[in-house]
């Protein structure tokens, strides 16, 4: 297992002008690492559906590299999306999975069969052409550049250290995230999409 923040730092070097969309508890680390927030988006609270939304974005913007950091608890809620993505084969879609083996947002309950499930195997079964699995940072860091330079759809499963939250959801301090409207406005500006 390796830390989400370290993973994001390794990725950041090769980000280029990709649109980056992180999800889940681990995904929050991206905000501290990103140097181009106008090309970032978050979909807080859309657990399970983020993969579908990002896939839609990739289909709509075929010339823009779309990098998605998914989480395994979220993906399991919408696992059939792997099939839909494999069916369309978006060349610009990079599907990273941060697998921390638990539902960190709600207190760390274990994900079913967390230790034995292979999400990369799932993606292969669905029809992704390229899949990767990483358990340590060094291995990941030395391969991420190559992965980002090949055509998608690519699936990259990573074992990420959980950052469990036990504070009841209503009592958590809110991090200063950009409002949704601002995210959409910035993204439209970056992509040259008229309202």
């Amino acid at each position: 297992m390796f830390k989400a923040k370290d993973m994001f730092e390794a990725f950041q070097k090769y980000r280029g002008d990709a649109i980056v969309i992180p999800t889940g508890t681990a995904g929050r680390n991206w905000g501290e690492v990103s140097t181009n927030q106008k090309r970032d988006a978050t979909l807080g609270g859309a657990m399970g559906q983020t993969a579908s939304v990002v896939f839609g974005l990739a289909m709509a913007q075929p010339d823009v590299k779309i990098v998605f950091f998914d989480s395994e608890g979220s993906l399991l809620m919408n696992l059939g999306i792997l099939e839909t993505i494999a069916g369309k084969q978006p060349k610009n879609f990079y599907h990273f999975l941060m697998d921390n083996e638990c539902y960190a947002t709600t207190g760390g309950q274990p994900v079913p069969n967390a230790e034995n499930i292979s999400y990369a195997g799932m993606a292969r079964g669905a029809g992704y052409v390229a899949t990767y699995e990483y358990e340590d940072l060094e291995d990941f860091s030395s391969n991420v550049e190559g992965i980002l330079s090949r055509p998608g759809p690519v699936f990259i499963a990573m074992k990420i250290t959980p950052e469990i939250e036990n504070e009841p959801i209503g009592r958590r301090s809110r991090t200063a995230a950009r409002p949704r409207a601002q995210i959409i406005k910035d993204l439209r500006g970056e992509l040259g999409v008229a309202v």
């Binding site: 399991l76 809620m77 919408n78 696992l79 059939g80 792997l82 099939e83 839909t84 494999a86 069916g87 369309k88 994900v111 079913p112 069969n113 034995n116 499930i117 292979s118 999400y119 990369a120 195997g121 799932m122 292969r124 079964g125 669905a126 029809g127």
Partner: protein, 188 residues
């Protein structure tokens, strides 16, 4: 390709006292061959949920074999259930997927990535004890008995094409549940 009804007949020959949870087109086919329908749980219109209902039944009735007759479009709607099933490791759980590559119920629109998709790979990746794939009837017929002797959870994916389905008298899910409840509450 396997003629779907023949595959269903082969499953039926080895059914013994198994509880059978079938759905969608596979259900129509199963209903046309099933003799002991009081042990069937027909999931009419519950597209996607056969795997989950079958799991519940298998956990509640660990001494009985449970056969799920699922569709490919159905399972795709509830693919995460593979992980839940693998996690519980029900030894009595046998998961047949009738893979016809389309949404037969709604006029056979093709499944996404139908040519690339492998349910057996996915089941193994989720943690099923074993998974098989057949596209030849004879091969399936000669192996199905052995497969059913194994410990579950096992997934068996069958590449099928549908033909004429003989008519059968439909039962409501409510009636089937009532009947099954009576049978299962008897001491065996």
């Amino acid at each position: 390709m396997i003629p779907s009804l023949e595959a269903i007949r082969a499953i039926h020959r080895h059914r013994q006292q198994s509880l059978v949870v079938a759905t969608m087109t596979g259900l129509e086919e199963w209903d046309s061959v099933s003799v002991d329908r009081s042990l069937d749980l027909p999931l009419i219109g519950c597209m996607g949920k056969a795997s989950s209902v079958g799991l519940g039944l298998a956990l509640a009735q660990p001494e009985r074999r449970v056969m799920v007759i699922d569709g490919d479009g159905s399972l795709l709607m509830n693919l995460g259930s593979l992980a839940t099933i693998a996690n519980k490791e029900p030894k009595n759980y046998f998961h047949f997927v009738m893979q016809d590559g389309g949404y037969t119920t709604s006029d056979s629109q093709p499944l996404p990535a139908a040519d690339k998709l492998s349910f057996s790979l996915m089941a193994k990746a989720a943690g099923y004890r074993a998974a098989y794939e057949f596209d030849d009837l004879e091969e399936f017929v000669t192996q199905v008995e052995d497969i059913l002797q194994q410990e579950g959870p096992v997934l068996i994916s069958l590449k099928v094409e549908h033909g004429e389905i003989p008519p059968s008298v439909p039962r409501t899910l409510q009636d089937a549940v009532e009947e099954l409840r009576v049978i299962l509450s008897r001491p065996s």
